[in-house]
């Protein structure tokens, strides 16, 4: 085989191979959308994080504004310390409320930021003061059952 023809084929092979990698990165993966160029770090303490996972989304008004960078247990206060990486384009007021929500009935859990009305903004490294823990289904059911039982006794 002539070498120039061979070179052409190898070049073609390498080109479509790299094109396939790019396709995987940009179209299949989330390199294009979730690549947060500049981020800053916020922290939030929760009594119970439920099934929250590292790399899970941080949403505000339903829009993904960041990722969960780290989850740690604080042995001093017995709380979970969740580190949030928030997109640098977005600023949130000081009295922002961080809650753990579930997407759908059985979906993944995410941190939702409900914006308050404070004039001052959260800076990098700040801790979000107001948080709400994940809803634990067993607790809810037992509370419901206890209140039902209490209702029944009152009526007697």
């Amino acid at each position: 085989m002539n070498r120039t023809v061979l070179d052409l084929w190898v070049g073609f092979f390498v080109a479509i191979g790299i094109a396939a990698l790019l396709f995987l990165a940009l179209k299949v993966g989330n390199l294009s959308s979730a690549h947060l160029s500049e981020t800053y770090v916020l922290q939030a303490k929760f009594d119970n994080i439920g099934g929250l996972k590292v790399r899970g989304p941080v949403k505000s008004a339903g829009v993904v504004v960041g990722r969960i960078a780290d989850i740690k247990f604080d042995p001093a206060s017995y709380e979970a310390v969740v580190t949030l990486q928030v997109d640098g384009r977005y600023q949130f007021p000081k009295d922002t409320f961080a809650s753990i929500y579930t997407a759908g009935l059985l979906g993944e859990q995410y941190v939702g930021l409900d914006v308050g009305g404070d004039e001052k903004m959260l800076k990098a490294g700040d801790t979000i003061a107001k948080t709400q823990s994940a809803v634990v289904l067993e607790k809810m059911i037992s509370q419901f059952l206890f209140s039902k039982a209490a209702d029944g006794q009152d009526k007697k």
Binding site: F13, A20, G29
Partner: protein
Amino acid sequence: MLNPATLLRKLGHVMVERIWRLGFAARFMSAVILYSGASFRRLPLTLREVYVSGVLSLLIILVSGLFVGMVLGLQGYETLQRFGSTEALGIMVALSLTRELGPVVAGLLFASRAGSSVTAEIGLMKATEQLKAMDMMAVNPIARVVAPRFWGGVISMPLLAALFSSMGVLGGWLVGVVFIGVDDGAFWSQMQAGVDFRYDIINGVIKSFVFGIAVSLIAVFEGYDSVPTAEGVSRAITRTVVTSALTILALDFVLTSFMFRGTS
């Protein structure tokens, strides 16, 4: 007659033989790495091997990738529709391909398509004493014959695995969206939300790279170490395919347990 002493002796002989071969394989591997300078200085040598093991494997990789993706689309839809979550088809197809099926199936196909031909080529060169003739002419056969084939395989394999995964995703899309009618937007957006570039795709590429090294090394070693007869070469080819398949599957388990620890 089978008395225990002979049996024990045979077993011991087989074990010693295995360990001997393993040691020789390790020495051979370091020789290949050591003498691979020539395959980059004289690039046409390596390019020819990329052509032989990469370009000539394109057809089988692309077609099987497409069909594997189509089957994943059909089976995934079948299962997911029971739970009413057919929009998750995209992420299911993409994750199974980029994490596992792409590198592993492409590696198995690569071993049987390209690895076997490399073994046959080197084995026949040995059987017809071409390697010895090179040695006589002061041309190092490892630098001239073995190393370019090794590097050709190592370069081709990640590209082939990426092509396999891409074709698979397209096949899944073809069946899921075009034939069955899953929503196009949900298919892609769920996929993009769930597939992480570093965690899923880069790890898949690392896997295919490791498989490429393993398969190429096994192929050149079996060829170089083959008994220089017609039967010996055919046995070496069989060993290449079997050993490569087992190595890929075992390595896949080890790599998976390192990479994906169920943190997400």
